[in-house]
């Protein structure tokens, strides 16, 4: 009798623990400081990136013979880092028929 109760109690504790552990707790702050952003911080830009951005901004004022958005190649500052999933193109192609 006592053994069965202990097993039931243990199962209940386990179930509650599992349920609580599986909750998706977000990182919402509980105490706000008015006017202060408390979320994730934005990674700062490097000085090189800032300079490239400035050069590209200046190109907007150039004549029509210059490619808009030209200037120094920005590719080395970081490529689009994540490739699309293997099936992504197939899936998108299939969507065209719907």
């Amino acid at each position: 009798m006592g053994g069965a109760t202990a097993v039931r109690t243990a199962a209940l504790v386990f179930a509650v623990t599992a349920a609580v552990a599986s909750c998706d707790f977000d990182e919402r702050p509980l105490n706000y400081e008015k006017g202060t952003y408390l979320g994730n911080s934005e990674p700062p830009l490097s000085a090189a990136t800032r300079e490239v951005l400035r050069e590209r901004a200046e190109y907007q004022g150039s004549g029509s013979g210059t490619v808009s958005g030209g200037g120094r190649d920005a590719a080395d500052l970081g490529a689009r880092a994540f490739p699309p999933p293997a099936d992504a193109l197939k899936e998108r192609a299939a969507h065209q028929g719907r």
């Binding site: 702050p29 008015k34 979320g39 830009l45 990136t49 200046e58 907007q60 808009s68 490529a79």
Partner: protein, 196 residues
């Protein structure tokens, strides 16, 4: 970082709107950027490309009850979708109608606010899938300006450092001899009454 739309050059092609939607894979019902036409069909018709202007003293930041909106060191106004409660206050405060919501509904049932990020992503790891899914492409971290401005066929829409784009605009005004006063510039970047 600032936007400037030269109304004398905008031809209402809506390519900026399309480019934005495509680059960030923005869902149906949300337009981070749109083209507004004033005096449509009448003499003096002008078109403007409007999105979040990333104001210097952004009213959306001031009214947000959960402080989910912030500005970066570059002067780009961004927000955290993890903190946003979809109250809609920023929509009412914004003079440009920039904040958008994925669903129609009352307080809290609109979903998380979405707006132009100046192609700077959001408060997630740069180029991470999470950042892309929540905020769209992070071109700024790649050293590229917002796509809407970079691909504008007539170079009506300018983006970049405030002094650079204002110099470009000033030179244009001097060269053509008319059309001074960029729409929205004073509202977004001018000094507020009583401010320092």
């Amino acid at each position: 970082m600032k936007f400037l739309c030269d109304a004398e050059r905008c031809i209402e092609c809506n390519a900026c709107v399309t480019a934005c939607k495509n680059e960030h894979e923005i869902p149906w019902g949300i337009n981070r950027r749109r083209v507004v036409t004033l005096n449509d069909g009448k003499p003096g018709e002008r078109s403007l490309s409007v999105a979040c202007m990333h104001c210097s003293d952004a009213p959306c930041i001031a009214v947000c009850p959960v402080d989910c909106i912030y500005d970066t060191a570059e002067g780009v106004v961004l927000h955290s979708k993890d903190l946003c409660i979809g109250c809609g206050y920023c929509f009412y405060a914004c003079p440009f109608g920039a904040p958008q919501y994925p669903q129609a509904g009352n307080f809290g049932s609109r979903g998380k606010m979405d707006k132009c990020t100046f192609c700077a992503g959001g408060p997630e790891e740069d180029h991470s899938p999470t950042e892309f899914q929540k905020y769209g492409r992070n071109r700024i971290a790649e050293g590229k300006l917002p796509l809407c401005a970079e691909m504008c066929a007539t170079k009506a829409l300018l983006a970049g450092d405030g002094d650079v784009v204002s110099n470009i605009y000033r030179e244009r005004v001097v060269a053509r001899g008319f059309g001074s006063g960029a729409w929205g510039w004073g509202t977004a970047y001018g000094q507020k009454a009583g401010g320092s």
